[in-house]
Symmetry: D2
Subunit: 457 residues, 4 copies
Amino acid sequence: LQEHAVTAEQTSNWFDPLFTTDGMRAVFSDRGRLQGMLTFEAALARAEAVEGVIPEPAAAAIASHCRAELFDIQALARGGALAGNSAIPVVRQLIEIVGGSDAEAARYVHWGATSQDAMDTGLVLQLRTAIDLIDADLARLSDALARLAEDYRLTPIAGRTWLQHAAPVTFGLKAAGWLSAVERHRDRIRAARPRVLALQFGGAAGTLDALGDQGLRVAEAMAEDLHLSLPDLPWHAHRDRPAEVATALGLLVGTLGKVARDISLMGQTEVGEVAEPGESGRGGSSAMPHKRNPVRSAVVLAAAVRVPALVSVMLAAMVQDHERGLGGWHAEWETLPEICTLTAGALGQLTRAMADLEVHPERMQQNLGATHGLILAAAAATALARKLGRQPAHDLVERACRRAVDEGRHLREVLADDPQVRTILSEADLDRVFDVGNHLGLAGMFVDRVVANHARE
Amino acid sequence: LQEHAVTAEQTSNWFDPLFTTDGMRAVFSDRGRLQGMLTFEAALARAEAVEGVIPEPAAAAIASHCRAELFDIQALARGGALAGNSAIPVVRQLIEIVGGSDAEAARYVHWGATSQDAMDTGLVLQLRTAIDLIDADLARLSDALARLAEDYRLTPIAGRTWLQHAAPVTFGLKAAGWLSAVERHRDRIRAARPRVLALQFGGAAGTLDALGDQGLRVAEAMAEDLHLSLPDLPWHAHRDRPAEVATALGLLVGTLGKVARDISLMGQTEVGEVAEPGESGRGGSSAMPHKRNPVRSAVVLAAAVRVPALVSVMLAAMVQDHERGLGGWHAEWETLPEICTLTAGALGQLTRAMADLEVHPERMQQNLGATHGLILAAAAATALARKLGRQPAHDLVERACRRAVDEGRHLREVLADDPQVRTILSEADLDRVFDVGNHLGLAGMFVDRVVANHARE
Amino acid sequence: LQEHAVTAEQTSNWFDPLFTTDGMRAVFSDRGRLQGMLTFEAALARAEAVEGVIPEPAAAAIASHCRAELFDIQALARGGALAGNSAIPVVRQLIEIVGGSDAEAARYVHWGATSQDAMDTGLVLQLRTAIDLIDADLARLSDALARLAEDYRLTPIAGRTWLQHAAPVTFGLKAAGWLSAVERHRDRIRAARPRVLALQFGGAAGTLDALGDQGLRVAEAMAEDLHLSLPDLPWHAHRDRPAEVATALGLLVGTLGKVARDISLMGQTEVGEVAEPGESGRGGSSAMPHKRNPVRSAVVLAAAVRVPALVSVMLAAMVQDHERGLGGWHAEWETLPEICTLTAGALGQLTRAMADLEVHPERMQQNLGATHGLILAAAAATALARKLGRQPAHDLVERACRRAVDEGRHLREVLADDPQVRTILSEADLDRVFDVGNHLGLAGMFVDRVVANHARE
Amino acid sequence: LQEHAVTAEQTSNWFDPLFTTDGMRAVFSDRGRLQGMLTFEAALARAEAVEGVIPEPAAAAIASHCRAELFDIQALARGGALAGNSAIPVVRQLIEIVGGSDAEAARYVHWGATSQDAMDTGLVLQLRTAIDLIDADLARLSDALARLAEDYRLTPIAGRTWLQHAAPVTFGLKAAGWLSAVERHRDRIRAARPRVLALQFGGAAGTLDALGDQGLRVAEAMAEDLHLSLPDLPWHAHRDRPAEVATALGLLVGTLGKVARDISLMGQTEVGEVAEPGESGRGGSSAMPHKRNPVRSAVVLAAAVRVPALVSVMLAAMVQDHERGLGGWHAEWETLPEICTLTAGALGQLTRAMADLEVHPERMQQNLGATHGLILAAAAATALARKLGRQPAHDLVERACRRAVDEGRHLREVLADDPQVRTILSEADLDRVFDVGNHLGLAGMFVDRVVANHARE
């Protein structure tokens, strides 16, 4: 029995290139986290100098050393494990580093602040970059979907409900449905921004006691410096802000998953209406030479399974004790980054899939014909309803459909044989009923409404 | 062995009076669900009459029978189990009922619509009432919290982090923190309203094909009739709207849970700073005569455990196939109502707890003194920091604290014994440091900012 | 605007007939819950009489009134909302009812017990019946799957990975895979039974203090009376037992969802390999007369979205404070019943779907041919691998597949044109490679292994 | 505005030292994952040589290169991102590495297997080591808890329900309750082992077609080689095995969280009954010099918030399509490792906290007295119940308790003033009632039962 050797030194990042983007994992890398805290410390020092709380040269010395590359992250991680939070070792290293060149300045590092001020404001800065990255990719996805909506505005395809053929729609309408949802997510994220991107600064227990009556002015200066909004009071144990980011991304991932489900179903071997763009080596199999697996959809669908549960962690973690939570706060530290990285990965993969989606209108047409007219059953019922009433017409066509299936005939034929139908619908009427092109309803108009909204962005 | 008899006929509603409010369970009762669908059918008929799609008298006859009390809900439930959706049997019963007095009108029932149009629009109508109820209770909770914030604006209490005494705050500041979060939730719910309260009307596959070119005008008339927004296209398989309601309530429940956690911790026997309002019979025990259990907090905390997971269901369920989902849609049917009823219950219980909360400032004072000055350790460090630098001052006081604990002495005494401290702080300085009243920082100012925002509502 | 009337009195049970079974909702009805507690009270009285703690006639009088039909459940629900637990009003009503005929006996009701003893033991009794019901349905499902496995042991069908054709398997092998998983769930549930079905009896704080040194003997007598196992100590705040039921059912529902996903995908219009058994009125549409929606699969898939999150509630709720939790315990009260009812519903629906599944081997055959030989690409590579090495053979066939797709030719033709292939494989070899019947591998043997295990049950 | 620099290259591992153990992160490091797959490939080659499927020297050459340190993990991660699974690039690198010294052997790498065979068997090998690590730590935790149970077998402490004093228990009983639950988890994990630790080996679509009739013998040889159980058939898309590991660990984490909650509540400043073992630098604060935060409890409680949701991912992900899932499978890849690492971290932290827990029996005693006799209200009611009946006695004492609180008197005094009580209880009786030592019930006996079970392990 060969040993299952265990010698490596950190948890796995193997799947990062698959499940997230380079940009987003940089934001939520160790270095990204560190820089967030250091940017807080620099802004704190500058603001305190402006308000005369600490000397100007000390502030300059502190700010100039708030650069992640000067720090030993391994040591920070070990220190954080002991302290139970990540800011304490950062502050200690910063003091050492500043003190190396300016002992006087080192005295003023982290003046009046508490660990969570640095950790939360740092997180908010990470979140701002994260939202920027997501916004940019959402714009790209939106454009790709708008192109599909316009290009296939009136391309008929089987509408499917409960995984069964229902009635004709157009592929452009499907794309417009995706696009419309994506635009709503852009609205939501835009609306959440000012609420969410707020400074955290309260000192030990949230009263800024250490700063006397200068606390609020320092806070104002920091908020301005960091381009963050100034909350009405510190929010250490009120976590609706980070949780709101989680829910906004959770909603987005739900839509991404819906789109990925649609294209992966349309891309099944038997359906063949679309395919993810081909690329050498993408989606192969170690056993089956012919495979071209929809890897991008798989990534999106995996995120759509994982992110909802991670959102629930952020919501459950909101129940935090008193002025700083025990456990709830800690539950956020890896969870919100994971939500961001998975969202970015799913969004990136879907955007690339949709930007160059292979579309096969001829297979759409072929599939529409597969049920020998059944897909136009609703249309036939509508044509009869004026005379018969809606429900009797429905019931008549339902019986005809059953006969068509049992006897392997086209629905039109079966209806044409029905004496009652013949009194209502002429051959020409039946021609009209069974021409898919007559049953796209408002598909084109709906596409136009959505695309016009998109263009307004 | 006595049999565990099983003869009853429906799942349990036993805990409804505990876990939800009468108003909210009416909204999400069988009858509430039915009336939502019927209100859709009535509006559909009226709109189609206005646009000339169906005869005006038929519309009047249909609309006049769209009243839940005319229907047999047991039969609807059985029919729904067969059909797999709840609208089909409703439409059939409506046809029968209308047809009983006007056979011609019965022909036009549900004209051009599909089941999900009725179910979704009905749901949206239920959600509107639900949001109204929650808005009203949020206003009451807000008022109660604002009163607490003002009444105890400068009442000192131990600030606690990691379940340990940290530094003094005021009870008013705690209340202001709660209030500020509640106000943000009111903003979020207000912002979500127009996005969420949208008509669903698309017909079989979302093209309104059965209505020819009158579809959009009928939709506009319905939206106006029902006071709902008109979406840019039908959204049958795009569930970000109901899911957004879920996330907005999930965020709210997180905050409710946080408040309940705080007051339940403050109400522990050893802490005794607050208590839920007393009431005969409330919170008793079958074994322990002295018990007065914090039932309201328990309900809120239970909701804070359950709702996050239910929100994750709504997010996971967004992955719906094509034009109508298989499974995902069905997963919503009981989940979103459950989120609404649990939120209402938690909100109602917490509002009543806070409206008449028993507050014991003398216990707060007493607890502040329990650690013999340790709670002012940060204040002492701040006083020394100017001379020593922040971190050396911190480290000095840390050592003093350890000595105080080990020797069972007051921190002030230990510090007064320290030669280095004596060179920096006079007796009068130490008096100032160890007077809690000097260390409430901006508590009062923060309270004022939050209360002023509240007053602006 | 017609009002959205809200007048009904309890939360919705509309979907019970769709989402659960009659048997299971009886178990978790209000009456089922009540009877569970009463059965505890009766057993308590009997055991205490046996041990001489209370008079024998009192015990007889108490036990004879522990029948749910004597109680006013509405009043119990109202009382429970005030008390915060459901046992207090039950005990009070029981005292009244017993006291109506025997005032002396009434003095001994609930002697030495606490509310949670009654509630938990009652729950355990409900769970026992629930597990019995699930066991019985699992046996039925197992039988149905074993029949499918045997009947279609060597019926070829496309194996599909990543929603793409992979290599041939047999429909019997798919059924055997389902069956094997179901058998493992039966094992798990069987193994959990003795651990889970344990008496709860501890009195006020879990020491049975009120019973002096007779406590353990009373507990032993109760356990024997109720056919429950006797735990080593009371477990009021240790919830791994109910949570284990939740996880066992959660695992089961995962497998039910997997089976439902498979058959719903196989039942898509374009695939058509299986269909849920037809039944008049089942799965219709209010707009589309031809629809026969897979309602049973939808119910199972909905449960597979909901139950995982409900399981997470049970796990999260395990964090209960001290001797009885605040909030965590309450979070279980509706959640575990919901898990049971949803599991039963999903299991029942799937069992009925599989017992009479429509199977279309001719469509399976037809779909196998749809890719012009690509489904045998792995077989072709294997045939070449002996000579070329595994990876070079794989790469050669991969290129051939691409050519076959691009040129719309059969893979066999393309390979036959390849000079390198021709040196290795003769026409007869290619015949063998491209005969699906030669590539079912161990499918039959695997079916036999699983069916033999099943038969052993 | 200083830029929020984003330059780092991988997602964050900063919190690993806090949230997991070195051993477990080695298991689930990139290297651990890789070695798992390589161990599969080596065993495959050996087994195939034994059965004569591939040449013996080729097998030896392959097996000798199946060592993680020979591979370029960055390249594997990039290759996996393209392929969508991690085995494909591993196989390709292995071929190159083997081919570097033995071109003939390279032809037989991965013979007859598919990617998921390597990935799943590799995972199972990782899980085996993970379970071993957890077993070992569970034994340590068990021992620590058994020591506490015995050492404080009869040390009185307030039993608390709903966060309120209830009735006396002993600290040993609390520890026995924790221990009993931990022992049940050990049972569960032990029982799951053979079910879960099963070989995965099925080839392309699970039929082992490429191995002709030698497939089963090769599988048997591999299972023996790897000391894994041989399943009745391959289980690529049936994920109950990995999901069962998740649920077993999820249940365990629930109990760990319950224990952490208890000790963190007992360690609150106002309660002070226990404290996590002190250690220089552990649990400090950057603002408050006196803080000694319960870092270990925080880690455990954070895991108890996160893991339940991660378990729900594993359950939701079980719904996998056909022979290999799209998305569901991928959702597992990082989730199950995360469950294992978080469980290990929580278990390790709690074990260290309990092994050296600071216990303060004098504070327990002091807290028992804090309510002036109320904690013995149940005892008083029991003493009166014989004469008055259980419920009247309860009600009498309830009134007395209210009076005691209102008038700030000891309950004993109030009862002694009650004429009805005086007719029943003498002064000596009241002495007995209000001596905590008389009301520990079966605490000692329960401790003994649990400790005896533990000793049997």
